[in-house]
Amino acid sequence: MNRDTMTETSLPVQVLGKFLKWLVLSLYLVITIFPIVWLALSAFKTNFEIETAPFSFPAVWQFQNFVSAISVSGLHQYFLNSIIVAVFATLVNLLVTSLASFTIAREEFPFRKVFFTVTTAGVLIPIIAFMVPYYTLITRFNLYDSLLALIVTYSAINIPISMFLISSFMTSIPRELEDSAEIDGCSFFQRYAKIIMPLARPGLVTAGTFSFIYCWNEFIYALLLTSSRSARTVQLAIRFFTSQFRTDYAGMYAAIVLTMIPTVVVYVFLHDKIISGLTAGAVKG
């Protein structure tokens, strides 16, 4: 059932409302689709065209940009690493923060406020401030140059944002649901796993999407904490086009376009499936 259908507003107001709605939607569509189109077109241009006429169409479509994107940087070798890092860092992050958010949103215990203080501070600081402590930490634990170093670091870096999101969604779930479950003899763990987690799914999906995109695009810690091909991610491959004195924009854009595909796929399929599954599901009735 579309919510629009049953309103009693007068016709001119409805028409005006519709017009405004579609004006906003189409204007914003232009603003958001523009970078994608621009990036995709630029990936087919020469460096000279990009530097001197960035908004023209390519004079000759430079398909070899994509060939050199792969051959110069060895992009394909890094895809698997990026996927492993982003998937596992996101899973670990969601597991850890959902456990914590559930406890914090639903229970009283000493030092509860400390978690808010730390996560608030954590979400405020540019994470680049922690380069020296993180490098020290990772090398002390002998994790330098491993995928695990990135998984642990990324899952930790995303804790504050995920905590904010997930606990926010968990708090908005009516308490009565849990209370009745508890009367039915549900344990603490069952309440988490059976009642709250399914209902907090929009929060989990949102936090997971953010985490995945962060892990996929992160550059400076990937550079700092890894050194060999076996532990590096696609962002380092993209930077192979920016050397000390020159940037090969054509190659870089082609590489960016190629590396964007997995994140877009993850977003479109995963996010869309889960959210729309939810819309069709029980909650909305």
């Binding site: 960035p54 020296v132 930490l137 949102t206 909305k284």
Partner: protein, 299 residues
Amino acid sequence: MKKLTKKTNRNLKWIIIFLIPVTVLLIAFFVYPIVYLAFLGFMEWDGISAMSFVGISNYTRTFGDSVFQTSIKNNLIWALSAAFLQIPLALVIALILAREPRGWRFLRTVYFLPNVISLVALAMLWRAMYNPEFGAVNFFLSQLGLEHMTRNWLGELDTALPAVIFSYQVYIGYFMVIILAGTMSIPKTFYEAAMIDGANILQQERYITLPAIRGIIVTAGTLAVAFALRQFETTFLMTAGGPANRTPVMGLYMYRRMAGLRYGQAAATGVLLILLGVVVLSGMQRIFGKSDAIEDAHQ
């Protein structure tokens, strides 16, 4: 309250188990580095030689720097713009999409896509857009006969900061997704009841949707403001703080001190950034109420 305490005792074992992982990671990746920053803020250190204790001189020095003062001002402008322009835009779009107009799935995906592109590419695009020699912004203006409005957007004193902020905050994907997810979880029956009572769309949004997602909006706002306060990559890539020191932000100021091997001052800046953020966020809570996440902690 009494019931809660009893319950807590019974669940204490579970609470501890559930909190161990997050505690370990928070201590290693946030508490330890923040304590380290707080400590380093009182030291003079070039990263190589021995540290020396200098009291609060890193702080006085930072506050005395006019570039830092501009950075605080700019950070506040960033934060205000996040709270009063970016979030309302995200809210409007999310509310429209939540009513599932034609093609809303497609729109939702496209609206989010710029957030998937790396900041480097977005900055390159917007630098090209704003360029006065071959940029698209001036081109459109002159096509519309507004030749007198064309300018060097990133290279003029009064336009550079708004131009940088716009290029970052116009992409609301993250916040749209948060608000949309919140809106989608409102039971549809609420609306059906309202429609029977004859409420129009605006009334429905005003009396059903907004109260139901107030906490989610504040969460989105908190994150938007936090991102606005800590961002420095976009500023670094777009203007590097120029022209004439008009666009620096605290994060960039801190990064610059690190590059200048003034680790003590960089740490002091980091601490000040956290403090400013706490002040801004609690000011926001005063005005808008608490986000669901923070609410309970303060009761």
